[in-house]
Amino acid sequence: MEILKSATAGTLESSDALVTVEPGEGIELELSSSVINQYGRQIRATILETLDRLQVQNARVTVVDKGALDCTLKARVECAVFRSCGKSASNIPWGGVIR
């Protein structure tokens, strides 16, 4: 998927994450997390896997994590990506890249 405009998903509530995607070259990830010491590695892996699954190759991604579980992180990244390419209102590829 191609990032056309900047978009966000999520909140800064506890157990959530705020994900921002913007057009960029290659994948640039900026990650901060309240649980970075114990889960930073896993959070980064989850985000990169999700982008890869959505076939996003070029994006600047900023994630402010407040202790979200993996399922939440995936959902927020997917939503931000769809919003950034105008697919969030309709044509959401349920059952395809969303797993």
Partner: protein, 518 residues
């Protein structure tokens, strides 16, 4: 050297007879030499001990570089006293190389972090360390390792001379002109003054700081004039709203209520739950809620609680007033109901920290305790509990009376949710051991109950009562299945804090945090 909870204690800390933690009751039967303070004689009758400023009091007590000042934490997050005294000592008198020996420190003491960074404060001895102070100590900016002690370990260390107090500062809600002090009757009331009592008896000098001067004699006095050198009247010793909060509402959270009821079911299944039993609970959500269910079970069995100790809050005061508990003995008050009850409600008494929890005296209250209900930041599969360091390794908590009550009580119940956000509360290894697993008996979580295999008698009780329980390993796996398996927190080599077991042996160390990079 590895200690009894598997923690590696660096050899350089094991000097002058210091030992690593060997297990519960290791010091039993040994003799200790108590120290006496060097105090000034005031033979000429004094009309008053009032001095104008804290700086004057410091000068009168011969304050100089390298001294140890002690404080108590009954004013909790509202406390102004520590900051006022350190400001006078450092900014007005120009003192340096000072050590703060406090019963606890909190976020009210953020300004002390500056004095640590400037190298003016070089030692911290406390139970609690939080906020900016916890941060700078964790960053290795304190010149000597902080020493963290439990509420019972502190009076033991003071009596044994392991910490020598040059000047003790007592923040008193009321005092008369010669220093008879109480925690009630003023405008900034805190109730009990139990943590300051040992300080007043063992410090070379004692300064009372109050914002409400009352007529002589201020009786019954928690701190007696016979131990006091000087009295300073200030505008305010603290912010009353943060000293004693309005009573914490009993949780409406169904998860917490479920855990609280499970705690009481466990308690009621043991042979110790009989007329005259004794009890202590913390002030956390599920622990407080346990009081409610306890009342129900007390009524059902037609029994009464003999006595309760604490850390007292409203639910216990209410049980006392209803005649469902015989006596309440109190080292600190957490809310206004408790503050307004101590020494007022019949059978609500005050005690010192030593009387409460000191393992080296001849019988602290915790040693007669049947049940204690406590919380945990983390608990590992060895039942070791951490209530000091966060998941990032930074100092942000306090052992308080946790290790003392756990060791002394017949049944120690830890109640905690299995996970908090993405943090697994039940884990493989806690970051820091603050209460050793050989003192912890039962774990109650929202996903199940686990009993320490060291207590087959309790396993039998639960089985007889039909209370299901699982292994702590299965709870840990359940937690990891939800949040994922955490990576180990990374530290530098430098020791920034020493965690003393209540008997004075070394339970664990906290090392300098390593900036995290992905």
């Amino acid at each position: 050297m590895k200690n009894a909870v598997g923690r590696d204690i660096p050899d350089f800390l094991l000097e002058n007879g210091k030992e690593v933690y060997q297990g519960k009751n290791y010091m039993d039967g040994k003799y200790m030499q108590k120290v006496g303070p060097r105090t000034r004689r005031y033979e000429t009758p004094q009309e008053s001990k009032l001095v104008d400023t804290i700086a004057d009091a410091l000068r009168q007590c011969g304050a100089k570089d390298g001294m140890t000042f002690s404080f108590h934490h009954h004013l909790r997050d509202g406390d102004f006293v520590v900051n006022m005294v350190m400001k006078a000592a450092i900014d007005e008198l120009g003192l340096k190389d000072l050590t703060i020996a406090a019963s606890s420190l909190g976020s009210a003491h953020d300004p002390i972090a500056d004095y640590i960074e400037q190298g003016k404060v070089i030692g911290i001895q406390t139970s609690g360390i939080r906020g900016r102070m916890g941060q700078v100590v964790s960053e290795g900016k304190l010149k000597t390792p902080a020493i963290i002690r439990s509420h019972g370990g502190r009076p033991r260390a003071i009596e044994a001379g392991e910490v020598h107090i040059d000047i003790a500062f007592v923040g008193a809600s009321t005092s008369d002109c010669v220093g008879n002090s109480r925690g009630i009757g003023g405008k900034s009331n805190c109730g009990a003054l139990g943590y300051a009592m040992t300080d007043a008896k063992y410090a070379d000098h004692v300064v009372v700081i109050t914002d409400c001067l009352v007529d002589f004699p201020n009786m019954p006095a928690s701190i007696e004039a016979i131990d006091v050198d000087a009295v300073v009247v200030v505008d305010s010793i603290g912010n009353p709203k943060k000293i004693a909060s309005a009573a914490a509402r009993i949780s409406q959270n169904p998860r917490e209520l479920m855990m609280a009821e499970d705690v009481v079911k466990v308690i009621a299944s043991t042979p110790y739950f009989k007329d005259g039993f004794s009890f202590q609970t913390g002030a956390g959500g599920p622990s407080l809620a346990a009081n409610l269910f306890l009342e129900k079970y007390i009524d059902e069995r037609g029994i009464k609680m003999g006595w309760a100790i604490g850390g007292i809050t409203r639910p216990m005061v209410e049980l006392l007033k209803k005649g469902k508990v015989g006596k309440v003995i109190d080292v600190q008050d957490f809310d206004l109901d408790a503050v307004n009850s101590i020494n007022q409600t019949p059978n609500h008494f005050e005690m010192s920290a030593s009387q409460y929890a000191n393992p080296a005296n001849k019988g602290a209250f915790v040693n007669k305790l049947d049940f204690v209900v406590l919380a945990a930041l983390e608990i590992d599969t060895g039942f070791n509990v951490n209530v000091l360091t966060g998941s990032d390794g930074v100092l942000r908590g306090a052992p308080g009376g946790h290790p003392d009550t756990a060791a002394g009580s017949k049944v120690c119940v830890i109640v905690t949710p299995l996970v908090r956000g993405r943090m697994a509360t039940v884990c493989e290894h806690v970051v820091t051991v603050t209460t050793p697993g050989d003192c912890v008996d039962v774990l109650v979580t929202d996903y199940g109950i686990a009993v320490n295999p060291l207590r087959p008698d309790l396993i039998e009780c639960l089985d007889k009562a039909g209370i299901p329980h699982v292994t702590i390993e299965s709870l840990k796996e359940k937690a990891y299945s939800i949040v994922g398996r955490p990576d180990d927190v990374q530290f530098e080599d430098k020791v920034v804090a020493i965690l003393e077991a209540r008997d004075g042996t070394i339970l664990d160390v906290v090392r300098q945090i390593k900036p995290f990079t992905l």
